[in-house]
């Protein structure tokens, strides 16, 4: 670092740099004998004072080069444009305020004070604020990074969302005990669901460490095992004010909460990481309260209908029982029938057998009669008459068998198939031997 540069940078040294000037005077005096020799530390300390006291904190615009964050949380980076670069440091106190580390190549503006790092004799900027791509750039970047991480872990999956209970008895509320959000929530719950008990986990909702406090409050409420549903909430505010709800501790606490969580942060337009992880996102604190409880008016209507629905159910049961009785009777009849049926069958079978026996007995008898009749027929002279023979009988009824039985002029009766013929013998001739 040349004298010329420091003169250019600080053309008007302020009067309190007496110590430096006095030392220089002293050095000039001693050139007579041995030259005055300064230690490196002395010089660096002097230059550091010069630098720090001469330049007020200033905004410097540039591009982030390398960026490293040490274990204690101090951040070391370079800031550059197309021709030059400078070393910068942001100590952990200020670095904690960053929503996220800027990425290399990101256009930023840095508020800081110039100083000299004495141990290395390098000048550097001690940064206290960094803003990127407009005031909200880093917030946006931080939001995107955390959302990507949570998405990759599956914590934003729709399947993870728990269903809200329909009639919660205890509503856990995580918010500030003095904020408008609590008043809004209580007002809605009082109107809609006066039977509810609210259990407040009071917490700061903005500022350093607020996200960890919100997470603890949520965990403490869940640990009581009392709430049926949770509201994590905060009223409207600037991006920085809502920031705690965009931080990892809140996101992880909501994701790990065994009880369904409804978020209601800021206004309609504000979407936070908490909203994305929550089981339900409500646009405002009031909307969150409306989402967790049913409206008493609607519940009351449902209850008013209940007695008639119950009565209808009871009537239905009675009717079913009555028709059930009918079924029992039908069943009984069937059972009786089943018992009677075999007997009936036996009887039927026996009757059939009897009938058949009788029929065949009759048949046999009829057959015998017929046979007998046939025989009788064959013996009867009538059958012979049928064949064309006739029988001659005297008036006295004696059968006239021979020529000797007839005398010429003698009357006799001739019996033919279908009657008698009165006849008179004319002459008789005896037949010769055949």
């Amino acid at each position: 670092m040349s004298d010329d540069l420091s003169l250019d940078l600080f053309p008007e040294p302020e009067p309190e740099h007496v110590e430096v000037e006095a030392s220089v005077d002293q050095a000039e005096k001693e050139t007579v004998g041995e030259p005055k020799v300064w230690s490196v530390s002395q010089v660096n300390r002097a230059v550091r004072s010069l630098l720090e006291d001469s330049v007020d904190p200033l905004w410097i615009g540039g591009e982030v080069g390398t960026w490293t964050r040490s274990r204690p949380g101090h951040c070391y980076f370079t800031l550059k444009d197309d021709r030059a670069q400078m070393r910068c440091v942001m100590f952990n106190r200020d670095a904690q305020q960053l929503p996220t580390d800027p990425e290399g190549g990101m256009k930023v503006r840095v508020l800081g004070a110039l100083t000299l790092y004495e141990a290395r004799g390098e000048y550097q900027l001690v940064a206290s604020r960094i803003e990127a791509e407009g005031a909200e750039g880093l917030w946006r970047l931080a939001f995107q990074k955390l959302r990507a991480t949570l998405t990759a872990e599956g914590l934003l999956d729709p399947e993870r969302k728990k269903a809200l209970p329909r009639y919660p008895a205890v509503v856990g509320v995580v918010t500030s005990s003095t904020g408008a959000a609590l008043r809004d929530i209580v007002s809605v719950l009082r109107r809609r669901a006066p039977w509810v008990r609210v259990l407040l986990g009071a917490t700061r909702v903005q500022g350093e460490g607020a996200s960890v406090e919100i997470a603890r409050a949520l965990e403490a409420l869940a640990a009581t095992g009392e709430p049926d549903v949770m509201i994590v909430s905060r009223g409207g505010g600037a991006v920085e004010d809502l920031w705690a709800f965009n931080e990892e501790p809140v996101a992880r606490a909501i994701a790990a909460c065994p009880i369904p969580v409804v978020s209601g942060v800021g206004h309609e337009v504000d979407v936070t990481i908490a909203d994305l992880v929550a089981d339900l996102r409500a646009p405002t604190p009031s909307a969150a309260a409306e989402a967790v409880v049913p409206d008493a008016v609607v519940v009351m209507e449902g209850l008013r209908e209940m007695p008639s629905r119950l009565a209808q159910g009871l009537r239905g049961t009675i009717q079913r029982r009555r028709s059930g009785l009918r079924e029992v009777l039908a069943g009984l009849r069937m059972r009786v029938d089943r018992r009677i049926m075999p007997v009936q069958q036996t009887i039927d079978r026996a009757t059939g057998r009897m009938e058949r026996a009788m029929r065949s007995a009759l048949e046999l008898r009829r057959l015998r009669v017929a046979t007998a009749a046939g025989k009788l027929d064959a013996l009867s002279p009538l059958a012979t008459l049928q064949r064309g023979y006739s029988v001659a009988r005297s008036r006295t009824g004696a059968v006239l068998r021979s020529v000797q039985d007839f005398a010429p002029g003698q009357p006799f009766e001739l019996r033919v198939r279908d009657g008698e013929v009165s006849c008179e013998a004319l002459e008789t001739r005896e037949a010769g031997p055949s």
Binding site: Y167, P168, A169, R190, P194, L199
Partner: protein, 83 residues
């Protein structure tokens, strides 16, 4: 909830609104099913009416309670003003 304990619960105040309404729905389902004997149906009906009356009382008479959870699991009643 067994029918025995449920019947007793119909008249006690300690049962939550959610349990009452859930039980009412269960009773309706039972009444609409075939498995219920007449005697049992009558008991269910009476129990249901008890839940309805108790739930109506809860809705019309209770006041919202707000408590703050303190360290060590203690609780403190809070008065929260309307905005």
């Amino acid at each position: 909830m067994s029918d025995e304990t449920a019947r007793e619960a119909g008249s006690t105040e300690s049962v939550s609104l959610e349990e009452r309404i859930a039980r009412l729905e269960e009773i309706l389902t039972r009444l609409e099913s075939d498995e219920v004997a007449l005697e049992q149906a009558l008991e269910l009906f009476e129990e249901g009416i008890g839940h309805v009356r108790a739930a109506e009382r809860v809705l019309s008479e209770t006041q919202l309670r707000v408590e703050e959870l303190l360290a060590g699991g203690k609780k403190k009643e809070l008065d929260v003003d309307e905005p």
